[in-house]
């Protein structure tokens, strides 16, 4: 990372050095306080999920669990709470949507970026304009459409509205596909590669970084989705993890060790994923500008 502060080493007076030291100290203090505030809630909820209700009630809320217990997690997975179901449903939803969204967005972005056809610019403008439509606005009509198709409390109801790509992903991919060098593609055309082969043998391999970023963004968005699943699939057998966590909190209010185990299950997989791929994500955020 480039530093912008004082690359020129000029002569410094003692007072300038003192004020610089003070500025550094303040910066560290500010950043550390921020880091503690950011990390705190994650840490506290994890600690609580590893305590028994008795420990929780008798000890200081920020104390370490002694001894550590996995009781909350095992009872979440027991028949009583049956958290296996929401995890399985969420995993399937994420898998199907990642596949569907990536595929449909790649196809559309490729057509917009590299092919020539009547109405291309108008159609692209329409796609971009739909970026302005807020999710909250479409939720009620989508609900009435899906229920009239008999898709309430079904897997299809959960995934169908998001299956066919997202205008945001198409927009982002098109920008990247356009900057793929034309001579590489021309060479392939001369070699007899058709539209389809140029896409999969040149375009996709050459744009792996942005595709990986988009994949991660899609996983995060879909895993964390709440409002749509809450409305379309309230039946327990189709609860996704966020809906199940909300239901658990409502039903067992006050049973905080159990509820924190549920939030840990909802949060931990993505945090792990993020820490592994953090370079990929942080470096691309500035480019992609999601949400």
């Amino acid at each position: 990372m480039a530093t912008v502060t004082s690359p020129t080493r000029t002569r410094r007076t003692p007072s300038a050095r003192a004020s610089r030291l003070l500025a550094n100290a303040l910066t560290y203090a500010f950043l550390l306080a921020g880091a503690a505030l950011m990390l705190g809630p994650f840490l506290f909820s994890l600690l609580t999920s590893l305590k028994t209700p008795r420990q929780f009630n008798t000890t200081w809320p920020v104390s370490l669990p002694d001894p550590v217990t996995t009781e909350n997690f095992t009872s979440l997975f027991s028949e009583q709470y049956n958290f296996v179901v929401p995890i399985a449903v969420t995993a399937q939803v994420v898998l199907v949507l990642v596949f569907g969204q990536m595929l449909c967005s790649i196809l559309a972005a490729y057509a917009f970026a590299q092919l020539d056809f009547p109405g291309r610019d108008t159609l692209f403008w329409v796609y971009v304009a739909t970026l302005m439509i807020p999710a909250v606005v479409t939720i009620i009509p989508l609900y009435s459409m899906m229920t009239s198709l008999g898709l309430k409390n079904t897997f299809l109801g959960l995934v169908l509205p998001f299956l066919f790509g997202s205008p945001y992903a198409i927009f982002l991919l098109r920008e990247n596909f356009r900057s793929t060098p034309a001579d590489v593609l021309d060479a392939a055309t001369i070699d007899g590669a058709g539209v389809w082969r140029r896409l999969w043998q040149i375009m996709v391999p050459m744009n792996k970084p942005i595709l990986a970023t988009l994949l991660l963004i899609t996983v995060v968005t879909q895993w964390n989705n709440f409002l749509w699943p809450l409305i379309i699939a309230p039946a327990e057998e189709w609860n996704v993890i966020t809906v199940a966590t909300a239901a658990l909190q409502t039903q067992y209010a006050g049973n905080w060790t159990l509820v924190m185990a549920a939030t840990t299950i909802a949060i931990a997989p993505l945090v792990t994923l993020f820490v592994i791929f953090q370079k990929q994500i942080t470096s691309s955020l500035g480019v992609t500008g999601v949400r």
């Binding site: 480039a2 912008v4 809630p41 809320p61 917009f112 909250v136 459409m145 909190q249």
Partner: protein, 290 residues
Amino acid sequence: MNARRRHEARAAYALLLPSFVGVGGFLLLPVLVVLGMSFMEWDLISAPEWVGLENYAYLLTSERFANSLWVTAVFTLLSIPTAIALGLLLAIAINRGLPGTSWLRVLYVLPWVSAPLALGVVWKWILDPSYGVLNALIGRRVEWLTDPQLALPAVVFVQVWTTVGYISLFFLAGLQQIPVAVYEAAKLDGAAAARILRSITLPLLRPTMFFVTVTSVIASFQVFDSIYAMTRGGPAFRTDVIASRIYDEAFVNLRLGRAAAMAVVLFLVLVAITLIQQRYFRRRITYDMS
């Protein structure tokens, strides 16, 4: 040549077909449907009934709806400037490049990858009057989420906490694009730190500022998950943001027509805000360094 062009156009339409089903069927069509629904009365049980402008007439006089617009506006006006100011400070602090600080960026983005619903549940516990961390730390019993005076500031705080790190990443990316030479020149001229911030950093961050403001406002007007987890719009509708109101009206009170009319109003408000912001930020300042 002409045959090849036709072939290419056919291929393009085939490639666009799936996404067109998505954009047409699940984005454009719903906008038309929501408009149609806003002229109807429908309780999910009996058949929808055409009522003309009745739903909109109701919204004009409804105190509850006015309250929701007000709550959403206050929520936005409190959370976004705070998050932007703190995010900018964070970015400037990280951008100083002090040893051992670049990994902190990872921490700041953790809330962004976590489900807002789950974070809302975690904060509901932290702010719990009897068992929460916060009251244990300050040694006092405060009803953060159930006191009508404190609930809105409390959810604003959680919103700032959730978004600030993410916002700071955009500012960091913006800061790193400002040429070092600009700062050097200012320093040689003897400009103080505050002056550099006001006359160089902020004007050159204008495009980033525009992007962050627009996306934050749009997100803020739709906030739902964390409020659902923490307060469900209570106490006494003090945190009843517009998305909560639409949800309650549609799926608790079963008045889908009214909820649709609210959604239409929200859509128009968001379009208007975006246009106004675009106008305000149009006069951009760029320092051409080439």
